[in-house]
Symmetry: C2
Subunit: 219 residues, 2 copies
DNA sequence: ACAATTTTTTAGTCTTGTCTAAATTTTATT
DNA sequence: AATAAAATTTAGACAAGACTAAAAAATTGT
């Protein structure tokens, strides 16, 4: 049984280390968790003791298979709860994260399996992020950043890279949601801004935006 | 913002002190929370500091109006989650308590209000206990212990006093649930056992059972 | 290769919530 | 009223998780 703090550290290492495949530096973890490097060192040692991470002094931490599974289970819970909040409790996609941060720590196998069934086994959360299965596996999709799409091509919004409140509200304002269709009308070489056709109207977006929207090319 | 521990203490004092109306002894709290009296003393002092309880040395603690409201809000969340688990996630009434103990600490006004609406504003939890409203008010019902019912009278099961897994499973085994109709066929003076008519069949129950079932008389 | 800078660890402290053992106060009994 | 018993508080310690300041190791720049 893990403490709330331990679960949060595992999750941070999971996200920073590409699902636990690469080693993550103390400072990177401290940054992500808004804590201090010294606190991270302490915690990594405890996690290493429990064989959830491999830790070598000055070399950062990498998840073990066991650590990876536990982290994925926390992410699974987080994303399933986000789906619940949006689909059934009238939350918008910019409101769910804080609450899911709390709900992801509820301990009950039955709860999460029944929730999964109640939601009809969703594969993605409200931000387009994949939901790990019971074994902690995610099937990776072929999404690409909008910034990569060439002029005159059509694509569909399938996710956000930045899921901050601010960005999500910006998208709402421009009526961009998961499933929205884009056509790249033109790209400006100077500042890498783009003009899209969205809902039959032109929309100019900056590189910052196109770099934070995932899309799927229409064939 | 209260810590999880503080919320649990408030809840214990609320339940032991008749919704915060009477003072509760240190030992009683320690017992209910499976902790030690010295720990309780420490915590009561902190709660008194925050003006959530009134504390006089050697005289126990009583909730303030503010403490009562906060405790009721925790109880409200606990019971709403229990309804959700039973009505939508296929939990049985003996499985919900442990999970609700965790869920009751999730902090989000919107979450609990939306959950309330999603559940269509239930007034009672799966054990027949009343759900406090947003202001922490509960409307008390005129339920009575089955042990009090006279011979030949009819009544309906509306709640349990003991909501332990063991008792709830005993009731399941005998097909007794909220809403089940009883007729008191006879009462044995010797051991105060009772013979009921339930689902058109006679059932003999001990005083322990009749003392833990709440019923409403049929007029 | 060596100095300067950055990253990471260590040492020591703090807060929260818990515990045991001892002291104190209250309550019950004679 | 005095004493015994029970309840409560105090004192001191501990574990988890955080922090600051200082030391040590790794990295970077010349
Ligand atoms: Mn999230
Ligand atoms: Mn998400
Ligand atoms: Mn309960
Ligand atoms: Mn209940």
């Amino acid at each position: 049984m893990l403490s709330l703090a331990e679960e949060n550290y595992l999750k941070a290492i999971y996200h920073l280390g590409k699902f636990g495949t690469i080693s993550v530096s103390t400072n990177a973890i401290a940054d992500k968790m808004a804590t201090k490097a010294s606190s991270v060192t302490d915690m990594i040692k405890k996690l290493a003791e429990k064989e959830l991470v491999v830790y070598k002094k000055y070399q950062g931490a990498k998840l073990t298979e066991n650590g990876r599974k536990l982290a994925a289970s926390v992410v699974r819970k987080h994303r399933l709860w986000e789906v619940f909040l949006v689909e059934h409790l009238n939350f918008s996609w910019d409101e769910v994260h804080e609450v899911a941060e709390q709900l992801e720590h509820i301990q009950s196998e039955k709860l999460i399996n029944q929730l999964d069934a109640f939601l009809e086994f969703p594969t993605h959360d409200p931000h387009g992020d994949p939901i790990p299965d019971k074994n902690g596996q995610i099937k990776k999709t072929d999404k690409v950043l909008l910034a990569q799409v060439k002029e005159h091509e059509h694509c569909m919004c399938v996710g956000v890279k930045d899921s901050s409140k601010e960005f999500l509200k910006y998208l709402d304002k421009h009526q961009i949601a998961l499933g929205t269709q884009f056509k790249v009308l033109s790209k400006e070489a100077f500042d890498e801004s783009m003009i899209l056709e969205v809902h039959n109207k032109p929309l100019s977006i900056s590189k910052v935006v196109s770099n934070n929207l995932f899309v799927k090319s229409n064939q």
